[in-house]
Symmetry: D3
């Protein structure tokens, strides 16, 4: 098995707040991330795929193909968007980095499997100092 990783990025707004909670409770739990008028980040996304290199090309997956899947299924829908409001696949989901990883996994696990290899990991940097990783529902 070889693991290959492609980095993509998107810039988005979000807030962490539950609408059924008071402003005070949201600020107590989420701190400044609950700011009612939103804040935002430059997100860096690393998608790792595992498989055997093709004997003729030496590729686990053509990274142009992987990049295209990520853009169509993920970053075109997140880039310059509001993660709480604008994104169909995030409806009803608190846009924490953890939950974003799970939602991104679901968007691309099947399109990647269609190319004869396996999605291994989603790694998402919210800032240089904070990131989350998800290895799928079986891990």
């Amino acid at each position: 098995m070889i693991y290959v990783t492609r980095k993509e990025h998107f810039n988005a707004a979000h807030k962490l707040a539950r609408p059924e909670w008071s402003d005070e409770k949201n600020e107590e739990v989420f701190g400044k991330c609950a700011n009612a008028n939103w804040h935002g980040h430059n997100f860096n996304l690393y998608v790792t795929v595992k498989g055997e290199p093709n004997e003729l090309t030496g590729f686990v997956i053509d990274l142009k193909v992987l990049s295209k899947i990520i853009r169509e299924k993920v970053t075109d829908q997140l880039d310059h968007k509001n993660l709480n409001v604008d994104v169909p696949f995030m409806q009803g989901i608190m846009p924490s980095t953890e939950n974003l990883c799970i939602a991104i996994w679901k968007q691309i696990v099947e399109p990647i499997a269609a190319h004869g290899c396996y999605l291994h990991a989603i790694k998402l940097y919210e800032t240089e100092n904070n990131f989350a990783e998800y290895f799928g529902p079986e891990h």
Copy 2:
């Protein structure tokens, strides 16, 4: 003269759109940056101060002091905020990276001069690929 630089950062939401313009015109001019529901960035801010090193300390300015000025006058007011809505010193100003540099300069030029040295440059990264620099109204 020696130049010393302190890096600080803030995460904020904004949009680039003129309220008196139609949505179509805003999207034509500003592209996806005009998204009505905002987007955001991790901004990295570099503040450069020039002066002579103090003979006893070897410092142009104590970087803890410089950091405190930047936080009080700039990043505490921008971090986890909406640059179009939440920030008193950005009222009525299009929050482009260029205009942010000028506004940040005005916030700190005098507090820095009070320490016997001079503000030389504001450098602001909006993304890893885009940044602006401002050297004051006389340059």
Copy 3:
């Protein structure tokens, strides 16, 4: 399971030398790292915690809480210190990057477990080119 990581940093002095060895032997084994008058590094520390995201917050652990644990138990005790001399939890331990990882693990494994999640990894960069990782005594 989701894995979340927080980066913190500290700047410290150390030397690699055994007091019971001669200077010649220490230099032979440790090279310039044995310099009697110390040298130092900007250490970058990545702490990874695993768990299930909370249904209400979407967090495995509030990263502000994780950051506070790391600062109180680790970086406040290491930053701007001499790792051979000043640090209670490093007494009698050769301050290699490997041994630092193990000692840092011991400092925070229980405080993290008290928040309903698990310490997964300590990753410590001594320089951009050298780092160590520890996944606990059972791995």
Copy 4:
């Protein structure tokens, strides 16, 4: 077990193209990577070794020793070279990042084992956005 990693780098030319294929087919499969007159990269290589820290030195392996192995067996043979033409251990192998990882593993797995520890991973960045990892023939 502790894991230690050493970063090394090399700058090389290559192309991705099969000599038995037509130019059209090579361009169809490999895109601009098939350019007949070559292109190149700054490769960043991370070699991870696992083992128990030595009781006296605190080292899994002396990183100067690890660096020397990597330079002699790998980067001295790849740096400022053409990966398709100049490198004995890449003869007959398509120089994809994946295949480079496997070939580099084979070059250093035994010299590292001779030092009482184990090669754990080869991670190779072709660009900031693309990298491959290999954990040996049994994984």
Copy 5:
């Protein structure tokens, strides 16, 4: 005046050698950069433009426009190419980082001026450790 910078990148092969010199002389002068079978780099290019921000947009230049100029005039012609062989605007020019800066300047100085602002600087990283800067023929 405000200065805005856009980063772009390209991956290319080159060698540093004069055809009228012997192999021995080329290796003596250029070292391993003279390797007959080429080597290559991931080049990072920073283009800085200066001007006054537009009153309505807050932009010195729309960075999408600047990016398009750089791609059409520079990186589309250099990416995945051989700088000695494949590039019309580098014919007869030794492809040192210094000379690349001058050649890139000439390619874009007029298209940028057509947008009411001025090319200020070309900064080109050949590696993380080596870069060149050019501020035009009058500096």
Copy 6:
């Protein structure tokens, strides 16, 4: 004129404290940087040289030559050393980043001028967040 820059690095210990001052005054002025048992940093040094590219080589200065000057005159004397104690050219000088820049300038200005070009700038990062720059005694 073209400007070329070479990055080198060194890891060193230091403290900021005046021996004629009390511990209390040193801590008041220098904070934790005054720790009696030292602390340390990974310093990144950028040396910029300006000149005209040689017509035959395309080089302002051969960067191997520049690297050799920096190593012999600067980093070999600073790396894995104590800046307050071990370094002849820092005797009697407070090892602030500012003063280090001036001292490094003096070490290499003449050896560089001997190669037909001019030292333009010393830029020294003490941490990712703090750096100083010096452009010589006439600026």
